[in-house]
Symmetry: C2
């Protein structure tokens, strides 16, 4: 208990009524509160009570065409996370922002502002956007292709980091007597002119508590994994079983050295949807109840969209039409998930309907129905066997799925010495054991 | 007291240490807290204690080159206002966003999210940006010209409003039984394709408490005033005396009819910097103390920038070099202020130094040093004589300047029946007496 063993990192992937696509229909869920800030405050406080490292908001810039059948994802991340910063004290606050449909100056500044407001708890999930629903809200043009998006992302990130570094730690002088507010020699333009962006800088905010908010990414393609290896300090991934988890883990960790990074510098967090019952039978009943609320029309849409082919014409209880499916290479959106779902259906011999149900809880992430001990066992196994440094928790429905986890699984993990009993640090970087980026570090050493 | 007389509307223009350019050097100000959210929380709560209609954050997307001599303006508006929404209950929260350097989808969505988070207290100060310090943080190009910026603004606003209207009030069905979450027939794409923007929509948030956050603008040029007449529900303006105030007031009100609007539909709020003392002598001493902290280098920079000419070569105690000044037409930035400062210097026969001091408290806005009664007298006079529907309060230094106003001037205004004793509405629109926009109104009538 509380020994110096390496511990898990836990992030709450917070999404309106939960991750099961039918969660909003669950008798205990509150879909009418999907845009109610106080609903999220309560959930964030529960997560904080559970000493979780962070909570995370996914995001896209468009309304899914399935709105008839599925609850809204929630509020806009920068505004919601700033609100949550005021209602919590320690938990990290990770927001998604796309490098394809934003300006680096705005993104650098909003995360800097959130980092200041939250006292060093901000994190950025860097995404390149995945669909035309988003694309058409910005231009009369489809999503740029995958490699173009990642090239843009690389330049975007470089600009954002330079802006965060544009103020030295000691730039603020604030001498009322002499009338010197800041030392202009310690605030430098970045004068960036690249293929995609021209940004002079400097930022109009001083260096923040973390220097750089924590960088998070979830690339699954080759390019995506290289990006993660280069930049990410926490990596989300969707893996539906421990073998896949191990493969991804060693694959990604092995890519870090190329960028002069050690394996510890990127913390790998597979998604995990725990369906918790006091007995295994109860857990299975909970899972079954959710499956029964699942809607075929929505599931067909979701799978058709992923596979790039309309599945409505094929028998539900027959196999995937493998011969008719576009190849992963032709997919411009979520290549990694595309591949995973085809593999899953093939190796497990699933019908369309079975694949739909298998992926309804968590869209292909690892999901397990069991007792708190069984859940903790699985987590410990992934952790011990090199498939995870922690987890991206995806409760199937809320608030119950989170309450159960915090009240029943967290104590079990704490008893095993696998999870903190109290927060030891104040910033998100400290929770994940990540040092401040070098400029701040240097200056902290000089002060000491 | 509390009778049905027409009452003033009061907005707090919240800016780090206050509006006097030397405020950060004042012994009681706290420049080290300019990026501390708790500092703003305290001020917002004071404003709410004073029953003010709203508070407002100005914004620009660049670091002023005068950072050596002048405090930062503060945190980023969307993040800060969302945080303040959690720490206050009734006061309106107005944020600035530029139509020149943003995407309409993001702006529509962030204000919608803020409106949801704050329970209907969001307002948008629509600006077109005013300088290259901002411009060069987005592209390697100067600020677009004034008329282009306003054409862009018009289309931008139209897109944002359409997005806010893209969900009907009754679109959310949320029927767990039938599995229908929303009625897609009540959520419509906007399919906008214009000269500047292509946005398909709909928004990915439902209609918010206010339908449309309150629209605020501060145009001073011909084009700017036409924009205000067409769109703004509250209008900020910089007027250094009551005559100017009256001229602007009747000018702007007379423009409304052209857009099918009555004079009541736009509330005019001149800026006002009250320097409050228990005696007139004390107020004057406070003003003098601030002037003594004013820095010539900063003032020269500010005026040179406004006039589009380097004033450093001219005698400080001589007149403005009228013959050398560019004409207002040649100015691409703040035409209105440019004209006002020239007029002020001419009619009052001011030297460069005197103009610098005259405008140091509030950059040309009306400023008055006096007792609470004298301050209230001036406000009443502007209000009674058709120069103002209320004021954009610009305390010279904070927190004292706000405390004094709330503790000493507000009760005086309340005693005169000129200002509310309690909030009567919950939303920002209600504070300003503005109805919900028509779609929401229609549906509210249908429900009744
Ligand atoms: C847990 C998780 C969360 C994600 N959140 C988002 C998100 O909020 N917005 C988004 O556009 N993409 C999101 N993605 C997609 C990834 O950013 C990425 O595009 C996807 O995993 C496919 O990888 P690739 O881009 O390398 O092909 C998420 C992926 C995972 C696994
Ligand atoms: C009280 C007040 C607040 C303003 N706030 C901002 C601001 O936050 N950001 C900005 O770019 N411009 C701001 N402006 C400038 C106006 O939006 C406008 O550009 C200026 O008054 C000149 O008018 P014109 O654009 O019609 O020439 C403000 C003006 C006033 C009077």
């Amino acid at each position: 208990m509380g020994d110096k063993r390496k511990q898990l990192h836990l992030n709450l992937f917070l999404m309106s009524t939960g991750h099961h696509e039918a969660s909003w229909r669950h008798p205990n869920s509150a879909p009418e509160r999907a845009v109610d800030v106080n609903y999220y405050v309560k959930l964030a406080r529960t997560a904080e009570r559970g000493k979780l490292d962070s909570l995370f908001l996914a995001d896209s810039y468009g309304l899914p065409p399935t709105i008839k059948y599925k609850v809204l994802q929630g509020l806009e991340p920068f505004t919601l996370l700033s609100a949550l910063a005021m209602a919590t004290e320690r938990i990290g606050l990770i927001g998604t922002a796309s490098t394809t449909y934003n300006e680096p100056f705005h993104v650098a500044r909003k995360f800097a502002s959130l980092d200041l407001i939250s006292g060093g708890r901000a994190g950025w999930n860097i995404v390149t956007s995945t669909g035309n629903t988003t694309a058409f809200n910005f231009r009369d043009e489809e999503l740029p292709d995958h490699s173009d998006r990642y090239r843009r992302a690389e330049e975007f990130l470089q600009v954002v980091k330079s802006l965060w570094d544009s103020w030295e730690d000691e730039a603020l002088v604030i001498d009322k007597q002499s009338g010197i507010y800041a030392d202009p020699d310690k605030i430098k333009p970045i004068s960036h002119k690249g293929d995609y962006y021209a940004v002079r800088g400097p930022l109009n905010l001083p260096r923040t508590p973390q220097g750089h908010p924590l960088l998070v990414q979830a690339g699954a393609s080759e390019t995506g994994k290289e990006f993660a290896a280069m930049a990410a300090e926490a990596v989300f991934t969707a893996q539906n079983n421990i073998e896949g988890g191990r493969r991804f883990y060693s694959d990604l960790k092995s890519r870090l050295a190329k960028y002069g990074r050690t394996p510890e510098e990127a913390c790998i967090l597979p998604g995990f949807c725990p369906i918790i019952g006091d007995t295994e039978a109860e857990a299975r009943e909970k899972e079954q109840a959710l499956h029964e609320l699942t809607q075929i029309d929505y599931g067909l849409y979701r799978l058709s969209n992923l596979f790039g082919i309309n599945l409505a014409g094929y028998p539900l209880d027959g196999p995937l039409p493998y011969a008719d499916l576009p190849q992963t290479e032709q997919i411009n959106s979520q290549k990694g998930r595309h591949q995973m779902f085809i593999e899953m259906a093939r190796t497990e011999g699933l019908t369309i309907r079975q694949l739909m149900m298998r992926t309804a809880s968590s869209r292909g992430h690892f999901s397990l129905a069991g007792t708190p001990v069984q859940i903790a066992d699985a987590m410990e196994r992934w952790f011990a066997e090199g498939a995870a440094d922690g987890f991206n928790l995806m409760p199937p429905y809320l608030p119950d799925g989170l309450d159960d986890f915090v009240d029943k699984v967290v104590p079990e993990l704490q008893n095993r010495g696998l999870f903190r009993e109290e927060y030891t640090g104040g910033t998100l970087r400290e929770h994940y054991g990540r040092p401040l980026p070098s400029r701040a570090l240097l200056s902290a050493q000089l002060k000491a």
